[in-house]
């Protein structure tokens, strides 16, 4: 049996992951990263998520119930520099940032692993819904068995060697099985509700969050133009929009209009009809390959262009310099620069990259 460090958020998934490892007889150590300073804000709203005081208290209670040591580390400065500030800057640049993917690469699977090593742990475990097989020449990472909870997409950017020492105890389980295991193992948070918002914006008001951090001269909006150049109106700030969005445009027109592009240089929001959203290809940069070596020749794969997107067949052509061209079998709607694109072969996560343009 091994010494395993478990990332504990105070939620049911990571708590149950810890309980299952304990049941298997491992020596389990709980680690919690405090990534966001909740002292000023969000206390009134009660529970935030992931690392609010209430959630850290839950992680402590669970760890005590499971009779395992548990340590909390404040890495809010790292999180601010590497995740939150780039998130805001990404919106300012007219993209749709994907902070959870970055956080997995730069914070969770980096800092937590270093802490685990510092504590002589052989493995790091998390409550992610993804399946991992080690033993072959290269770790093989697959979708979580419960496709409705699958989180493999968020893991495409983690350096593959890190997975050699990672365990995902929930990978083969469905959410209701996880709750059942939590009850069976007397985990106190078995019935705690899930949260879906970004951990640092627990009230879900992304626009308000970004606006609170903008210099005043960046808070004003800009023109809304049709693809054909017609000026249609005024918007309240590019950060409020993402490619494919229809709501919040405040336009009256005969045909339904969608955000087609964002132009940060001029502050212009470009809208157009649904068919203008269809992209036949995209380019991705900074690709990371997980279950396979970086391809040197064109490769058939299924591409997922956002969380919960239904993958589409595509030809992936390496362009050098960790860039790829992704040509879809069928045009895809709303390909948003700044989001990640992940490549699959059936269940297997091959790798992914960052969408740059269409």
């Amino acid at each position: 049996m091994a010494r395993v460090a478990v990332a504990m958020s105070g939620g049911v998934d990571s708590s149950t992951a810890a309980a299952l490892l304990r049941e298997d007889g491992h020596e389990v150590i709980g680690l919690t990263l405090q990534l966001w300073d909740y002292t000023a804000e969000n206390l009134a709203s009660g529970r935030g998520r992931c690392c609010s005081p209430a959630d850290i208290a839950d992680a402590r209670i669970v760890s005590d119930r499971l009779d395992m040591p548990h340590y909390v580390f404040d890495h809010s400065a790292t999180f601010e520099d590497h995740i939150v500030e780039p998130f805001v800057q990404g919106y300012l640049a007219g993209t749709t940032p994907s902070p959870c993917i970055r956080c997995n690469r730069l914070v969770k699977f980096d800092m937590l692993w270093k802490l685990a090593r510092a504590l002589d742990a052989e493995f790091l475990a998390t409550g992610h819904y993804a399946r991992l097989e080690n033993g072959a020449a290269r770790p093989q990472l697959s979708k979580g068995h419960d496709h409705s909870k699958d989180q493999s997409y968020f893991l495409f950017d983690v350096p593959v060697e890190r997975f050699e020492n990672v365990i995902f105890p929930l990978g083969a389980l469905a959410k209701d099985e996880v709750r059942a295991a939590a009850r069976r193992l007397d985990v106190p948070v078995a019935d705690k509700p899930e949260s879906y918002e970004l951990c640092f914006i627990p009230d879900g008001d992304k626009d308000g969050f970004v606006e609170g951090r903008l210099p005043t001269d960046r808070r004003h909006g800009g023109p809304v133009r049709h693809l054909d150049g017609t000026l249609l109106g005024h918007h309240g700030g590019l950060h409020r929009f993402t490619v494919g969005q229809r709501r919040g445009l405040g336009l009256t027109s005969a045909e339904p209009l969608f955000v087609v592009a964002l132009e940060p240089e001029t502050g212009t929001l470009i809208v157009g009809p649904a068919e203008a959203l269809a992209a036949e290809m995209l380019e991705a940069r900074a690709c990371n390959w997980v279950s396979i070596e970086a391809p040197t020749a064109p490769l058939r794969a299924a591409a997922r262009i956002r969380h919960r997107h239904h993958e589409v067949g595509a030809l992936i052509t390496p362009l050098g310099d960790d860039r790829v061209l992704v040509e879809f079998d069928e045009p895809q709607r709303a390909v948003a620069p700044g989001q990640g694109v992940a490549f699959y072969d059936g269940e297997l996560l091959l790798g992914g990259g960052w969408i740059e343009g269409t």
């Binding site: 009779d67 040591p69 909390v72 270093k114 002589d120």
Partner: protein
Amino acid sequence: MSTAAKVYLDYNASAPLCAEAADAMQPWLAGRVCNPSSAHRSGQRSRAAVEQARGQVAELLGCPPAAVVFTSGGTEADNAAVWGGLGWPPRGHLVISAIEHPAVMEPAAALRDLGVEVTHVPVDDEARVDPEAVRAALRPDTALVSIMAANNEVGSLQPVEKIAAIAHDVGALFHTDAVQAAAWIDLRPLVAASDLLSISSHKIAGPMGIGALYVRPGLDLAPLVRGGGQQGGRRGGTEATAAMVGFGAACARTLASRDQAVVRVVALRDRLEAMLLDSIEGMRRNGGEPRLPNTCHMSFARCDGNALVARLDLDGIAASAGAACASGVAHASPVMEALGVPAEYLAGALRLSLGYETTAADVDHAIDVVPTAVHALRAAGLEAVR
């Protein structure tokens, strides 16, 4: 694996409840324990127990029992002294040191928001306040000078008697936070020199949630907690009989054991410190002599103190990275910054604090384990991230 660490070296955070206090409290934890202010026979029994405990605290302090005001702990005692020392409504000038406990720092900050001027006297690189610097800070309207007797992080002892005399020269009141000193230092000379002095029960192996403020007889201090007129109107609230009785027993035990413990513990601490300095490169000891005999505070270059504490816990040693704080998440200590500790050492603080029960074997275990842990932490590459 998950049992508590075998070796406890965190007495400055809390000294585990001693048998004397536990035994003394036992009769007051069950059965008919009544309000000490009640006139009936059961109330009378509680009253007698509370007043006997007050006498035991007074004996540790070397003052009349009537000068002892029970509080909910050291923090409340400090708050009562600082708020009370500025009068109600608060006015005048307040002088504190740069390394006071937050129980003094925070009320001082709140008073500043109310218009009270606050001067923070700096410390030297050994964490000591220069009495002449206090003299220079004084003004005709200085109402209170509050300087701790012993720093809770590095253990440095302050020249309290000299500073008290200097404060009195301009007619200011003098308060000292003696919470950390009580287990190790004879408080009687400090009490004799001061107007106000704070102590806490759980730092001397009494129960948590109880402490006391010495108030010089004749001093009319505005109360912080107003209520039913208990303790002569100086602190409202029903007296906590069991906690006070335990505190009293801990005071008696401290008085009986302290002198011997000091001699024994200082030798253990010095050996621990010398051995660690010998075996770890890039280590500095923080705080100079004179200091508490039990406190060993050090910093390691390129090492994360919080992760070090976690690793030591797994290795069977309970310690702190600086001070234990409410959230359990330590930050770079203002005390370390006030001392001018070099940047590469700031993140790597470790406090090992010994107690009356610490054995040579405990210290040997720390000498064995700490160097390996520091090296492992440095190898883990955590130091760059704060």
